[in-house]
Symmetry: C2
Subunit: 261 residues, 2 copies
Amino acid sequence: MDAIQDEAVSKRARGLDRAFEILDFLRQKRQALKPNEIAAQIGAPRSSVYELVNLLLSNGILEFTGGEGRVYLGRKLYFLGAAYENHFDFTRECEAALEQLADETRETAQFCMLDGNKYTVVRMREGARPFRISTDIGQSVPIPWTASGRLLVAHLPDQEILNFIPQQDFRLPNGEWLDPQSFIAEVRQAEREGLFTFNSIVDSFTHCFAVPVRGEQGHAAATLCLVTPRDDGIANRDRYLDCLKKAAAGLEHAPARPRRG
Amino acid sequence: MDAIQDEAVSKRARGLDRAFEILDFLRQKRQALKPNEIAAQIGAPRSSVYELVNLLLSNGILEFTGGEGRVYLGRKLYFLGAAYENHFDFTRECEAALEQLADETRETAQFCMLDGNKYTVVRMREGARPFRISTDIGQSVPIPWTASGRLLVAHLPDQEILNFIPQQDFRLPNGEWLDPQSFIAEVRQAEREGLFTFNSIVDSFTHCFAVPVRGEQGHAAATLCLVTPRDDGIANRDRYLDCLKKAAAGLEHAPARPRRG
DNA sequence: CATTTTTGTCCGCTATAATGTACATGTGAT
DNA sequence: ATCACATGTACATTATAGCGGACAAAAATG
């Protein structure tokens, strides 16, 4: 079941993969692009991209927008995403949990998941401070940069974790190199304790708290996090962790519930 | 630019199309299914479906859920849909408009769009009546069955409308046949007046009001609707239409707004 | 103007993706 | 036990999808 890396210098890409590469690229760019630009920037043959874009357009997966023949993600994707959200109905409880956390702690609260082999903030509630600490929703961040990351991969064996996370993601934003073995150690610690906290390694003034939200198979399907100023976080550590655990417990009951069954 | 209809009895289906056929099918079913079931129900070769499902699984487009090898729409779709929603940032204003409508009229208010060649309720706010009139979100409904349908296709020439809407969608739920020409006439009337209202043809007790929400190119990108008991609707017709138009006007300002541009 | 770059279309070649078929296993009915 | 059916896998065949490259219009550049 482990995916083969494409070692071979690349033969022909499969249409489906190319298509989702295009979609992911547009999502990452967060703006409409011309087919030509897409081709150039993802390094794919122009003729292929043109053909795929036209196919996706005619399916409603992409839409013309922004003029000049630019395309962006289409309505169909919204509908499909809404169906996912509806099936794994975490949104309602999730918002409630974040609200509760924000009320109790006045800190920024986040609900995070994996997106492929990256970490992503799915929903967020800003804290009530004069200077709020905030994050972009839906941005892909290397797993090792985050507290949640330790929890989200904890169900995997060591070696699979190392295969799963791209090498370069252990290079921290300040240029330092995070030793994968110490990362693994932190993962195991997080797994044992059911939480992870640290002074953020992506900046110099925040402290992060993360606890798992366990899914169907019992491993962390998501995390709830608090992002706080360092001194506040350290001062309120126990209380904050209690709040997080309470909120996470409230989320763990209604995972997947089909309509009719 | 007009799409060719696939007259030919069908040769080989393209992977991409098959893939999105699978996704749409799962959305429609609103439940996890085994690959085998999918193949049988959409009438596709089993081997093809198995291959595609595996591809989609490895991309995060589909996910195992519900056990027994059943699959359903995956997290990646949620992320892509969220990016769409974020780009065409209608959600916030949309909820506000529905809230306002529900407050002012106490009737069920809906925000509707086309999904391919079907009509879909994207968001809804139930009215404040003891017996609420409600609809399922995200269900695909034939365009001719709905008041909004008249507005959503009004930008097309007559012939293209007839090409666009599947023949069988003119068969109403009560078995009657709606003459396409009278449908077209209603479309043109709706276009002239900038609204459409009628006693619903999908049941015997509701009256429907729809006004367009115009998008980039000036045609109805969506509609705002009220679904009311017949007598209330007819009694309050003018007021309700005013409320709808006011709410729609509030939505028409922020259509597509790229992040940086 | 001439020249270069960007953008979109068209077409032939061939690697390969979609398919049909056969096979293997599990499950339940008779 | 035997049969029927549902479910998943493996493989050879061949229609075609992805690709490269040619062409041309349009836009930018000099």
